[in-house]
């Protein structure tokens, strides 16, 4: 008799829950009901005739069987998944992880902490490889209150995980869950997973990356953001562009008058003077464009490369001085062309006797100045051009208020540096202005300080962040700079204002690194929430979210053509991203430890990466970016997986090991000489 069964369950439930009064009332009701069963049976039969309700009540009684249900249910579900058909297996396996963490959190939430622990430990190995960092975080959750407190867990609970799955896999899954009455699992899946069922064949393994980051920021939002339009082109009237014209003319003249060198020199001067004048007035640019067009007509081969789109600057850019411009143009003209067959020369600056105190290093554009930020709050600058020369004059010491700078002479003379003191916490980042006359440093004391390398003095202290400032970067044109902090914001500043111009908020964890786009209209930020975001400088909006890293993002670099971005993480993986589509192109795998720094070569053909594993690696960007077409990408990814990374090793051109010196900073000079810096550490 179904009716009786249900009544029995209800009674048991009330008993178990300790609702004595309710139980009592229920019993009375029952007896009362039985007494007038004959008269009012129609009502009860009516109410109980609904089989769904009966089932629900039954299921509920089962559900209440306690935490063991989770364990059993999950282990059954898991073994079924592992024994499923190979073709659909990887899709079903993706479901396992969210089910796992939500089962765990359900258990914690219900107060079964002990059971949650055992559950967690018995199945964590399955997910160790892909999600070790998340697991480490969750491991610490020990009480329901922690769940509310911990942002990570909170966001997991709030948002549904989106999983792409093919129709057949979906049917398989549902059928299994219904057939075996694993209602607990079904409940979890319903509650926390949002299936995107697609008809046809199961998707390939390579799309896996989307599910890797359960970072809370809902995927919908991310894709929506990534729909926004961005203009990644270079700035109009950039120096490079001018060089193209100037260079074209120059090479023409060289061809024509190779022998008459003196005349040529004169002409060069004239032309570079012209080039400088172009910078002065925008009116002339148009005229010159016409001139360059005629120049190009004479040299058709130069036109084969499709021109990158040009964009207008959104910020008012500082005026570049003519002399400076001249020297930059000269550098660009003398740039060594790098490619996979002609690799750069690397000059390495080794910091010795740092006593584990060096936190960061920065190299000026021409490599003549090297700055080091130390954990004892000091900032030191070495003038590499003067290295080895005899020191002149006595020790200089300037002091103004709280900050001071002094020249320190080495014991052997000549090896001197300028000491900047002013911060009151470890210095985490330093950056030279493009011309090398200013230096910015950020520190744990939540300030950013501007130093003049000419005056050897602290000029400004920028206060705005509330927590340690992890990174600061000058914009490619100078004047503006961006900072990122533990307070989960990135900020844009200009040198002449002590308050930030923009605050970029949106990351779910610390913003660890920041980098300017070459056209200065965007900044990219890398965060501990394992995402990289691109922000519009003018509006302060997030315009791209790049999801794919499996650990904290430590370094960023933008390609000189503005089209690509590289990001390096704690595990040693480097990802190449296409800014316009927001999709990742290819992982560059090779480093075994944190990638501290990344740099593109001047013309963008090579990427250099420096890592804690004491190597500098050179990557071929051309071949790394050549496979963004979907089909190619799939095949290459598949071969990559099947061959265990062989294709990727081809893209790594060269590994340059250092002598137990982790590489902290890399910088390509305008002439494509690569500078690297690092602290010699004996323990490595």
């Amino acid at each position: 008799m179904e009716e009786d069964q249900i009544e029995k369950f209800v009674a048991e439930y009330l008993k178990k829950k300790g609702f004595k009064q309710a139980e009592h009332a229920f019993q009375e009701e029952r007896q009362h009901q039985q007494s007038k069963n004959t008269s009012s049976s129609s009502i009860t039969t009516n109410s109980l005739s609904d089989p769904d309700l009966a089932k629900h009540i039954l299921a509920f009684s089962e559900l209440e069987n306690g935490p063991a249900r989770y364990h059993d249910g999950y282990s059954k579900f898991r073994s079924w998944t592992y024994s499923s058909l190979d073709l659909y297996k990887h899709e079903l396996l993706r479901v396992l992880y969210p089910v796992f963490i939500h089962c765990f959190m359900d258990l914690v939430e219900k107060g079964h902490v002990q059971e949650a622990r055992t559950f967690f430990n018995s199945f964590r190995e399955d997910h160790e490889m892909m999600h070790s960092r998340d697991l480490q975080k969750l491991e610490g959750v020990l009480s329901p209150s922690h769940l509310g407190e911990m942002e990570f867990a909170h966001s997991l609970r709030q948002n549904k995980v989106k999983i792409k799955i093919c129709q057949y896999s979906y049917d398989l899954l549902l059928e299994y869950l219904h057939k075996t009455k694993l209602t607990t699992m079904l409940g979890v899946i319903n509650e926390h997973i949002n299936f995107q069922v697609s008809p046809g064949q199961p998707s390939s393994i390579s799309d896996d990356t989307e599910v890797v980051t359960l970072t809370g920021s809902s995927q919908d939002e991310a894709t929506q953001i990534n729909q926004k339009e961005i203009h990644w082109g270079l700035l109009e009237d950039s120096l490079e562009e001018r060089l193209e014209k100037g260079g074209g003319l120059l090479s023409d003249s060289e061809k024509a008058e190779g022998e008459t060198k003196e005349g040529e020199l004169d002409e060069n001067k004239k032309r570079s003077g012209e080039g400088a004048k172009q910078g002065m007035s925008i009116k002339k640019v148009k005229k010159d464009k016409g001139a360059s067009a005629t120049g190009k007509a004479g040299r058709p081969e130069a036109n084969t490369v499709p021109m990158a789109p040009r964009v207008k600057p959104e910020l008012t850019l500082p005026v570049v001085h003519t002399d400076v411009e001249k020297s930059i143009l000269e550098d660009l003209r003398n740039r060594v062309q790098l490619s996979s067959v002609s690799l750069p020369s690397v000059s390495f600056y080794t910091f010795i006797n740092t006593h584990n105190g060096l936190n960061c290093s920065s190299i000026s554009h021409d490599g003549s100045l090297v700055a080091g930020g130390f954990s004892d709050s000091s900032l030191k600058i070495w003038d590499m051009a003067k290295l080895g020369q005899e020191p002149v004059g006595p020790v200089l010491q300037g002091e103004n208020g709280t900050t001071s700078s002094e020249h320190v002479l080495g014991s052997r003379g000549g090896k001197r540096y300028t000491l900047f003191q002013g911060h009151s916490g470890p210095v985490y980042s330093a950056t030279f202005s493009p011309l090398g006359d200013f230096l910015l440093s950020s520190s744990a004391d939540s300030t950013i300080r501007l130093w003049s390398t000419k005056l050897n003095a602290n000029l400004v202290c920028y206060k705005g962040h509330n927590y340690p400032v992890w990174d600061v970067q000058f914009s490619p044109v100078g004047h503006y700079f961006a900072s990122s902090s533990h307070d989960r914001t990135a900020r844009i500043w200009s040198m002449d204002r002590i308050l930030p111009l923009r605050i970029m908020a949106g990351h779910l964890s610390d913003v660890d690194c920041v980098q300017w786009h070459v056209n200065c209209n965007y900044i990219a930020t890398g965060s501990s929430d394992k995402t990289v975001r691109l922000w519009d400088v003018q509006s302060g909006e997030c315009v791209r979210i790049f999801i794919g890293h499996r650990s904290m993002v430590l370094s960023l670099a933008m390609s000189p053509d503005g089209r690509y971005m590289a990001s390096g993480d704690e595990d040693g993986t480097i990802m190449m991203w296409d800014l316009s589509t927001g999709r990742f192109i290819t992982p560059l795998i090779g480093h075994t430890s944190c990638v501290w720094t990344l740099a593109f070569s001047g013309e963008g053909s090579l990427l250099a990466s420096g890592s804690a594993d004491c190597t500098v690696k050179l990557w071929d960007v051309a071949s790394s970016t050549k496979v963004p077409k979907t089909e190619e990408k799939l095949t290459s990814m598949l071969t990559f997986i099947s061959k265990g990374g062989n294709t990727n090793r081809l893209r790594s051109l060269k590994t340059l090991p250092t002598k137990s010196t982790p590489v902290y900073a890399l910088r390509f000079s305008r002439r494509n000489l690569l500078f690297a810096a690092g602290a010699l550490s004996k323990s490595v």
Binding site: V346, S347, F351, N359, C594, Y664
Partner: protein
């Protein structure tokens, strides 16, 4: 249930004066403590990453605590990572070794040296993608480089032109000790077993490469200064041989420094200051050394062997040079192989023997030492010529027939004269006990060869009756003397012919048989020892 046991909470509670902590509170606190600790560690790891480090230090934890507005834990700051010690008897229990320090000691201790100040050095990590082999760079497979000679030369050239690095040469403490030990052993205990072990070590150990320039320089210096210290010279030559044998050492760049001292030990006028010094042996040893050097590095340095042979030939052909120098030169040339002998010694054999003959005669050379030396040289010559002819005979086996008869004749004569003269010569020897003694003691060079030869003759039944007893060596040795004289005197015409044959000896297609015959003119049947048995049977 949590990593923090509830006992720990109780202990901490007691330590701050809470004695009546209820167990419920403990159970709630323990997991919360664990959660907080994990939280702090997560922040500490962030701080570590931003300090560009991969190992967590107490500073990072302090910074993490500051981030959370918590008072840092004082007293644990240190630039290095903490050293934990495993507690005895426990597998997973560690503690920081924190020694008690006497306050007095701290106060009275002298000021420690200030730590070195931070500095920056620059070097080339790569030049156009190729890593130069400077000490600042991680060691590449150093020995793999020479295989592609062109490439390494290229980078070296670039290095020299483009940058002038202050190349500092670091010798590890171990290597310095090793070097000093080797020097000391060579100088003082060159006879000991330890020295032999040292030689083995020099010949086999890898990683000695940094010491090679020091050794070569030192050896060159020592040899020039200790020309009259025979044991030392010999010891140094052994060291040189060991160094040359070592497969891990790339010694070619230092050969030019090493060769002069080696050559000195081969052809110096005097090696050692006492007559008991067996400098002959040293010369033999060095001759083999020179030969091995030529063999190994001759193809790399094309002018190496020509230079050596020129030096040796010069010493050999200069009549004013001492006999010991001649000996060294002959040995050296002989060690270089039969071709060298055929080309350089044989054409000069006849005039040289004429020069040498009076020195060997008792009547003409009264000085025993001188005479002995002459005999040595003679033995060396014989050996060299014999080796040469042996080689030839092996190559041109079929060309032996024509001159057999002539030689047979000569041999007969020799045999006859031999018998006549034998008595006299033994008498001579009897009268000169010291000479005899010397000769019997004799060296590897001549006598064993002769005795062997006589044995063989005995076997073939030629002259076995003529020789025998204890004075076999002596007799056969002295026997050569009259033979020489006789061929010189009696068959003058034939000698002319023989010398002309010899002077053409360098020709490849030279008839080996004729060569042999002419050599017989000079050396008599002592040459038999160098002819292979089947060939010998042609003559007998």
């Amino acid at each position: 249930m949590s990593v923090v046991p509830k006992e720990a909470i109780e202990v901490v509670a007691q330590s701050i004066g809470i004695t009546n902590l209820s167990s419920d509170v403990v159970l709630v606190l323990a997991p919360d403590v664990e959660y907080r600790v994990r939280e702090i560690m997560q922040e500490a790891i962030k701080c570590m990453r931003h300090s560009r480090r991969t190992s967590l230090t107490s500073d990072d934890v302090d910074n993490a605590l500051k981030l959370r507005n918590v008072e840092p834990i004082y007293g644990f700051t240190s630039g290095d990572s903490l050293r934990f010690k495993r507690a005895a008897g426990h597998k997973d229990l560690f503690y920081i070794d924190d020694k008690d320090v006497e306050f007095k000691n701290v106060i009275e201790a002298p000021l420690t040296e200030a730590p070195l100040d931070t500095s920056v050095t620059a070097h080339w990590l790569a030049i156009e993608g190729v890593q130069p082999a400077v000490p600042e760079n991680a060691p590449v497979e150093a020995l793999a480089m020479p295989s592609d000679g062109k490439k390494s030369e290229y980078t070296e050239d670039r290095l020299l032109i483009d940058i002038k690095l202050p190349v500092k040469h670091f010798l590890s403490r171990e290597l310095q000790l090793y070097y000093e030990k080797i020097i000391e052993l060579t100088r003082n205990k060159s006879g000991s077993v330890l020295f032999k072990q040292a030689l083995v070590s020099l010949a086999t150990d890898s990683g000695l490469h940094p010491l090679v320039p020091y050794f070569t320089y030192f050896i060159a210096d020592e040899v020039t200064r200790n020309l009259n210290n025979f044991p030392l010279l010999f010891a140094w030559m052994r060291v040189v041989r060991s160094l040359l044998q070592n497969p891990h050492i790339h010694i070619e760049p230092y050969l030019h420094q090493l060769m002069p001292s080696v050559m000195t030990c081969l052809v110096a006028k005097r090696l050692g200051n006492r007559s008991s010094d067996n400098h002959w042996e040293l010369r033999n040893f060095t001759a083999n050394l020179v030969a091995s050097i030529c063999k190994r590095y001759g193809h790399v340095y094309h002018n190496l062997q020509p230079r050596i042979t020129r030096t040796l030939l010069h010493a050999f052909l200069d009549p004013t040079k001492a006999l010991s120098q001649h000996f060294g030169a002959i040995q050296g040339l002989a060690a270089l192989g039969p071709n060298v002998v055929r080309l350089l010694i044989l054409p000069n054999l006849e005039p040289y023997l004429q020069l040498l003959a009076p020195e060997m005669l008792l009547e003409k050379q009264k000085n025993e030492m001188k005479r002995l030396e002459a005999w040595r040289v003679y033995g060396a010559l014989l050996f060299a010529a014999g080796q040469c002819i042996y080689d030839q005979l092996k190559m041109f086996r079929s060309l032996l027939f024509p001159p057999t008869r002539a030689i047979w004749k000569i041999n007969k004569k020799v045999a006859i004269t031999m018998r006549k003269k034998r008595k006299a010569s033994t008498d001579n020897l009897m009268q000169q006990p010291p000479h005899k003694k010397m000769a019997t003691e004799g060296t590897v060079g001549v006598i064993p060869m002769n005795s062997m030869q006589t044995d063989r003759q005995g076997a073939t039944g030629g002259y076995s009756t003529a020789v025998g007893g204890s004075n076999v060596g002596l007799s056969s040795m002295s026997r050569q003397l009259p033979t020489e004289n006789m061929s010189g005197r009696e068959v003058g015409g034939r000698v002319v012919k023989a010398s002309s044959v010899l002077s053409q000896a360098w020709k490849e297609d030279m008839d080996a048989g004729r060569l042999l015959a002419s050599l017989f003119e000079f050396f008599g049947e002592s040459l038999y020892s160098f002819t292979p048995k089947p060939e010998l049977s042609f003559f007998l």
